[in-house]
């Protein structure tokens, strides 16, 4: 199975993929300021499996959005693979997201009008991969998550657990160095949760960096390291 994912050079282990220096994200709501991230310092190395837990509203999703270059911090420095992303424009950020990061969201975020296979293909479309190769690679990714026979089904024809597995296939189809998952099991029952966590275990074994955000301690136990978030800070 793991042959489909070229393992990154193990000798590179220990090099930081993510470095955060005093990263802040402040939302201004009228006269009130919400410090969703109140100065976060962190370092996540290549190939690490890290879980982030914390109470609701502590800033976990905000952190993941910053890590995924979906949101721009209001202060501090974020180095991704040693590159400072705060000076990049939208087009460059889009390229970084496309090449380096695979996202798994709590709400799956699959496009309802497309088949599972077309959904998995999407990141490859923006990477400029030719059609036939896209087709092959998306089928291989679906095979990895055990859904190749559902390739032509639309999301509304799949169970929640199956939809999340399609989303995982979409996250790994570009073979990104890092997987960011924001409560990927939040909407799933225990057996689907086990399926998804199993996939993450395989990805970790293949050398991917994984950042998993969760409420649940049992889920967080999967990771090598647990970061605890509270009031916008890592403790």
């Amino acid at each position: 199975m793991t042959t489909t994912l070229a393992a990154p050079d193990r000798s590179a282990l220990g090099r930081p993929t993510i470095e955060l220096h005093d990263v802040r994200k402040t939302y201004v709501m009228g006269t009130q300021e919400v410090h969703a991230l109140a100065g976060v310092d962190a370092r996540i190395d290549e190939g690490e499996y890290v879980a982030v837990i914390g109470p609701s509203g502590s800033g976990k999703s905000t952190l993941m959005n910053v890590l995924g270059c979906l949101d721009i911090p209001t202060g501090g420095q974020y180095l991704l693979d040693g590159e400072d992303v705060s000076h990049m424009n939208e087009a460059q950020l889009a390229d970084v997201r496309n090449r380096k990061i695979g996202f798994v969201f709590q709400q799956f975020h699959l496009l309802a009008t497309m088949s599972a296979q077309r959904n998995v293909e999407l990141p490859l479309v923006y990477a400029g991969v030719p059609a036939h190769e896209r087709h092959e690679r998306s089928l291989r990714a679906l095979e990895r998550v055990g859904l190749v026979e559902r390739a032509d089904h639309r999301p509304n024809e799949l169970s929640g657990g199956q939809q999340q597995r399609v989303a995982v296939a979409r996250a790994l189809v570009t073979e990104p160095a890092m997987i960011l998952a924001d409560e990927p099991t939040g909407n799933l029952d225990s057996s689907s949760t086990e399926d998804v966590l199993g996939l993450f275990r395989e990805l970790h074994a293949a050398g991917r960096t994984i950042v998993l955000i969760t409420h649940e301690h049992e889920v967080a136990e999967e990771a090598d390291r647990i970061l605890v978030m509270k009031d916008g800070e890592l403790t």
Binding site: L70, E90, A91, A94, R97, N98, H109, L111, L122, Y126
Partner: protein, 422 residues
């Protein structure tokens, strides 16, 4: 993302929201088809007039009684005016006075009732000379035209227009038969071939032509002028029109000048602004008719342009709705690596496809209407390929133009704003 990918994405979006896409295109379809039809109507009317004027004859000058002054328009009604007489026509025919004139055909006409057995038909009795056929450049489909001798003797002969024949003789050959006018029996000696123009309606606005007497080129009974005078019972030699054929197109304006000064002289008028006659050329008729038509065309095209604008705003409206509806999709695409320009291209292409498709359907509909219309309103509609191409181009432009704003709005969203929205 390459062009084909963007194209497929745009086509997918259009297909997945079929109803919305159809409604968007509807505005463009209506706008474009009405532009095609109105411009076609204007052009068709102009073509009709041009054909009709050309069919009058070649190198033609049309002299008619009455005057036009800037303040009161035409003074003296046609037919009732007696300022143009047979002796004027004779003088114009005199080649020593008017060297550039080739032939002259004086015309006096009255409205009469033609009877064949139990069939009755009101038409125009056109009294003229044997030169009329050449001057008016008409051919016969049967029989012959009357001769100078028959004009001199006032023979009871007539040459009928093709429409008159079909009304009176219902398809039978009329040559050798008789028609009765005011108790006088006229032998039909010939039938005019149809002039090929629809009617005189489009010329009635111009001040002087054969048609302003109310006759149609294909519905008339042409008789020797002497016969016409006898039937109408007038002793006056007043004419409704004198058709003059110049020797060539090069001498047309010379002939115009010669006739003008001759008639001023004959009528003892010193100032040409007091002239009791008018001379029209085919060119002057054409430009008079065209200017009337042009006003109408501009007006109609203006209305059509407004409907196009409304259609364009419809496209923008739907595209904005589309952006709002698909804001999550935009966010996801961005999260997966779509650049702002890829999103912009997708929405712009979607709007362009809707515009282009709407334009092509609208053009096809317009052509369809243009083909159906002449049989309904007896008015030609000329659709030029250039106008069609321009209409489709405009539709595409509308799609692009009104798609730009929604497209850039979609592109400007940050991925998380878009993903988080409900």
């Amino acid at each position: 993302m390459g062009f084909t990918e963007t194209l497929w994405t745009a086509l997918d979006a259009i297909r997945n929201h079929r109803m919305r896409s159809i409604l968007t295109m509807l505005g463009i379809v209506i706008g474009i088809s009405s532009v095609v039809v109105t411009v076609g109507l204007g052009q068709g009317a102009q073509d009709d007039v041009r054909k009709e004027i050309a069919s009058l004859g070649s190198n033609l000058l049309i002299v008619s009684p009455g005057s036009s002054t800037s303040s009161t328009g035409t003074r003296g009604g046609f037919g009732s005016s007696t300022t143009l007489t047979l002796s004027d026509a004779d003088s114009i025919a005199d080649s020593s006075v008017v060297p550039d004139v080739k032939r002259v055909a004086p015309v006096a006409s009255t409205s009469v009732s033609l009877v064949n057995g139990s069939t009755n038909w009101t038409s125009q009795l056109v009294g003229t000379t044997s030169a009329w056929q050449q001057v008016r450049n008409r051919t016969l489909s049967a029989g012959r035209f009357f001769t100078a001798a028959e004009v001199a003797s006032g023979a009871n002969v007539t040459v009928l227009g093709s429409d008159t024949v079909s009304e009176l003789f219902s398809g039978q050959s009329p040559v050798g038969q008789t028609v009765t006018v005011d108790g006088q029996q006229l032998t039909v000696i010939g039938v005019l071939k149809s002039s090929g123009t629809s009617s005189t309606s489009s010329l009635t606005g111009s001040s002087s032509s054969s048609s302003s007497t109310g006759s149609s080129d294909d519905d008339q009974a042409v008789v020797p002028i002497t016969t016409e005078q006898r039937i109408s019972g007038t002793t006056s030699t007043a004419l409704s029109t004198v058709y003059v054929e110049a020797k060539s197109s090069a001498t047309l304006s010379a002939a115009y000048q010669e006739i003008d000064s001759l008639l001023l002289n004959l009528h003892s008028i010193t100032s040409s602004s007091d002239a009791d006659f008018q001379i029209a050329t085919q060119d002057s008729l054409l430009s008079a008719a065209n200017s009337t038509n042009k006003t109408l065309t501009v007006l109609l095209a203006g209305v059509a342009a407004i409907s196009l604008l409304v259609g364009g705003i419809g496209v923008m409206n739907i595209m904005l709705v589309s952006v709002t509806e698909r804001i999550k999709e935009i966010g996801l695409r961005k999260a997966l690596g779509a650049t702002p320009s890829a999103i912009r291209r997708q929405f712009l292409l979607e709007a362009s496809i809707l515009g282009l498709l709407g334009g092509m359907i609208g053009a096809a509909l317009g052509v369809g209407i243009a083909m159906a219309l002449p049989s309904l309103i007896s008015q030609s509609v000329t659709v030029s390929p250039v106008a069609l191409g321009a209409a489709v181009g405009v539709a595409l432009g509308l799609g692009v133009g009104f798609g730009v704003y929604p497209a850039s709005r979609a592109a400007a969203l940050t991925p998380i704003q878009a993903l988080r929205s409900e």
